[in-house]
């Protein structure tokens, strides 16, 4: 994919090396985002299971310390 990079006031097409670095950063950031989303989903799932056991919202909050 073609990228434009800016160095101070100069905007130009990224070199292959710069493009590769951007791609690598983006893939790493996407992985981090996916991990955070999975963590949030697991938390929601756990909360739903606690509620299914009969805990009230207040009890769940107390359990979590929030």
């Amino acid at each position: 994919m073609a990228y434009k990079v800016q160095i101070d006031d100069i905007v130009r097409d990224a070199t292959p090396q710069e493009a590769a670095a951007i791609e690598a950063q983006r893939q790493a950031t996407a992985s981090a985002a996916a991990e955070a989303e999975a963590k949030a989903a697991a938390r929601e799932s756990a909360l739903a299971k606690l509620a299914a056991l009969g805990l009230t919202d207040a009890e769940i909050a107390a359990l979590l310390g929030v």
Partner: protein, 180 residues
């Protein structure tokens, strides 16, 4: 004369008054059109130990984040991030060791770019520390705090913000030095 920062026309400022000024604008960089990464050179120097960097205005092509690197270094970035969304009381977070960059120093939407951070000792032969935060302009968007450091003692003069996806157009990056 009035006590600074209230000045009157024609007032003569003393050295003591000028030396009492905290933040000095080092550089202001307008972001170009449809760029994926912006490098600001000559941002850090021996003049200051601590810098305040702001990103405001402009738009992103899609919701994205701005990841930061110093110089050409692509290793040794440590960070923790806490974030909340406007529609939840839940605090989320991630921690990362020895990364290729600091993640999510700024945020962008199709409305505006936002982010600011303190960068401590980027020019000095010490670990560089970052403290950053942003607020996303989406009704269910997030706000974030990032704290971290770069585990080397390299002296840096430049930094780069790289969009996590898409591009940025317009807006301003401003670098202020805090008087030592």
């Amino acid at each position: 004369m009035a006590t600074p920062p209230v000045f009157t026309a024609g007032a003569v400022l003393t050295a003591a008054q000028m030396n009492g000024i905290g933040l000095w604008l080092v550089k202001s960089q307008t972001i170009g059109s449809a760029v994926s990464a912006v490098t600001v050179t000559d941002a850090f120097s021996a003049d200051y130990d601590n810098y305040f960097v702001t990103v405001n205005g402009g738009v992103a092509s899609t919701t994205n984040y701005g990841d930061m690197t110093l110089g050409s270094t692509a290793t040794g970035y440590y960070m923790s991030q806490n974030y909340m969304t406007y529609n939840s009381n839940t605090v989320g977070g991630i921690s990362r060791q020895n990364q290729t960059r600091w993640i999510a120093i700024t945020v962008g939407t199709t409305n505006v770019l936002n982010g600011q951070c303190w960068i401590h000792d980027p020019f000095n032969a010490k670990n560089t520390i970052v403290n950053a935060w942003y607020a996303q302009t989406l009704t269910t968007g997030e706000n974030s705090l990032v704290r971290g450091y770069l585990a080397d003692t390299t002296s840096y003069t430049a930094f780069t913000l790289t969009a996590s996806t898409g591009t940025w157009t317009g807006g301003e990056i401003r670098v202020y030095g805090m008087r030592n």
